[in-house]
């Protein structure tokens, strides 16, 4: 194979700018989606452990729907189908007047999808706590919401830091699918650089390294958080 390596292309104008702009979109998209995934996912995880039938059923249905449909299909559904199902005025607004329609659609899609996975982690975390903790909290006069807020959730979130790290990493990697609906994030920009310069190896190497840097930073900060919030005497912790 004959290939003319030219790493210099990565720092040339406008390609450097394209990469950085792609990086910015990847970060904005992933972090905004994470806000949805984390808050909605926590609510869903909690609902799945409640003794109340309706919230539990709704949350279960949500999880099964969103984690069983491929993310790529969900991207297309949100972008091409959902606007048609909305009331006419709202649909028109989404299609014509909403700023950055691809970006916000991708945020919602990725956020809702990841929420179903986060919800399962939160549920697993809550259910791994011995029931006696909840009973003890109720016995001191705390209401069930207080027992969740003050005892169960602080414990559950500590227990699920490792699997939540995976979900957080996944959201950055999954954000690359947003290119299919036209978000110019990191992968899309790399492809564009390849199209313009035929230097695909350099462009995708740069993207790979940038993804690695992001995920390493996430991993290290989650590890730092885990050691800060470690529960004394629990399995897998040092005393």
């Amino acid at each position: 194979m004959k290939y003319n390596w030219n790493w210099g292309v990565l720092v040339e104008d406008p390609y450097l700018f394209w990469l950085l702009s792609g990086l910015e979109y990847t970060l904005l998209l992933s972090l905004s989606a994470w806000v949805i995934a984390f808050s909605l996912g926590s609510a869903i995880g909690v609902s799945r452990t409640l003794p109340l039938a309706w919230p539990r059923k709704l949350a279960t249905a949500y999880v099964e729907l969103f984690r069983n449909v491929p993310l790529l299909v969900q991207m297309f559904l949100w972008f091409f189908v959902v606007p048609e199902l909305l009331p006419a005025d709202l649909g028109r607004w989404v299609k014509r007047d909403m700023p950055f329609p691809e970006f916000w659609t991708a945020v919602v899609c990725l956020g809702f999808y990841t929420a179903s996975r986060v919800g399962e982690q939160v549920r697993a975390g809550i259910q791994s706590i011995p029931r006696g903790q909840y009973i003890a909290a109720l016995a001191t006069g705390l209401g069930w919401m207080q027992a969740y807020r003050l005892v169960l959730l602080p414990l559950a979130f500590r227990l699920i830091v490792p699997p939540m790290t995976s979900e957080f990493l996944n959201i950055f990697k999954n954000s690359s699918l947003a290119l299919t609906i036209g978000v110019l994030e990191l992968t899309a920009q790399s492809r564009q650089i390849e199209n313009y310069t035929f230097q695909g190896f350099e462009a995708f190497t740069a993207a790979t390294v940038l993804y690695l840097v992001i995920t390493m930073i996430v991993m290290l900060s989650m590890r730092w958080m885990e050691s800060r919030t470690r529960v004394v005497g629990m399995i897998g912790t040092r005393r």
């Binding site: 011995p130 006696g132 903790q133 009973i135 003890a136 909290a137 109720l138 016995a139 001191t140 006069g141 705390l142 209401g143 207080q146 003050l150 005892v151 602080p154 414990l155 500590r158 919030t229 529960v231 004394v232 005497g233 629990m234 912790t237 005393r239």
Partner: protein
């Protein structure tokens, strides 16, 4: 103060409590014993509504526990409870464990709650462990913190559900000493335990329960000297011989 009138409870088809009637008056200490699976833990958990029951009535300080309109959290905040497995919150220090419900249920200020917590830690002999986490405390120490946590709510009565069953033999006494102290001060107590020495020392009455039925409810001396039911005689012969 605590009255149970013909309480019945089922787990599905299993009839776990059968017409249980019992009264504990103010300042009284009642020990409940019986073989495992007899329903004694279930019975004591019905008193503060942690276990629902299907028949009969339980009234605590004039409040009907089974009544739909009853504010259970409010009632529970007035009854202290201590568990077999301590159930301290592992992510909080001993001090925070004792303060949590004081702050969030009784709405005491942080400073007030901590002052009360330190007072109680002194009382159970653990002043130096205020900042320690449950994972770094021995079983006996954890149970004493759990007692302090219950006392911090200034309860009108205390429920103990096998408080020493999960402890090493060496640690049983440090917990029993605290309980004896409480009993002598006139705290109303319902204690599920097999510690017959404790029963003899401070109990006013001893109740024997088997297969969900209260078979014996007698003054302490009478209970040990002349039990009425044969099942009680058999039970006592087995646990007192050692």
């Amino acid at each position: 103060m605590i009255e149970l009138d013909k309480v019945n409870k089922w787990y599905g088809a299993l009839h776990v409590l059968k017409d249980c009637s019992l009264a504990v008056s103010r300042g009284e200490v009642v020990v409940i014993c019986g073989p495992s699976g007899s329903g004694k833990s279930t019975l004591i958990k019905c008193v503060n509504g942690l276990e629902p029951f299907q028949g009969g009535r339980i009234v605590v300080d004039g409040v009907s526990v089974g009544d739909k309109a009853t504010n259970l959290p409010r009632l529970r905040s007035r009854i202290g409870m201590v568990f077999q497995h301590f159930e301290l919150y592992p992510h909080m220090s001993a001090l925070e464990n004792i303060c949590l419900a004081q702050v969030h249920v009784l709405k005491r200020s942080r400073a007030e709650a901590e002052a009360r917590a330190m007072e109680l830690l002194t009382r159970v002999g653990l002043t130096d462990k205020a900042r320690a986490y449950p994972g770094n405390l021995s079983g006996g120490q954890q149970q004493r913190v759990a007692i302090a946590r219950a006392l911090a709510m200034d309860p009108i009565a205390m429920l103990f559900d096998e408080p020493t069953s999960a402890l090493d033999p060496e640690m049983i006494n440090e917990v029993l000493d605290v309980m004896v102290g409480l009993a002598r001060e006139g705290m109303t107590m319902m204690v599920v335990t097999h510690e017959m020495g404790f029963a003899r020392k401070v109990a006013d009455r001893v109740v024997f329960i088997d297969e969900g039925q209260i078979l014996e409810d007698a003054q302490t001396e009478a209970f040990f000297a002349a039990p009425k039911s044969e099942r009680t005689v058999l039970f006592l012969s087995k646990i007192l011989e050692h």
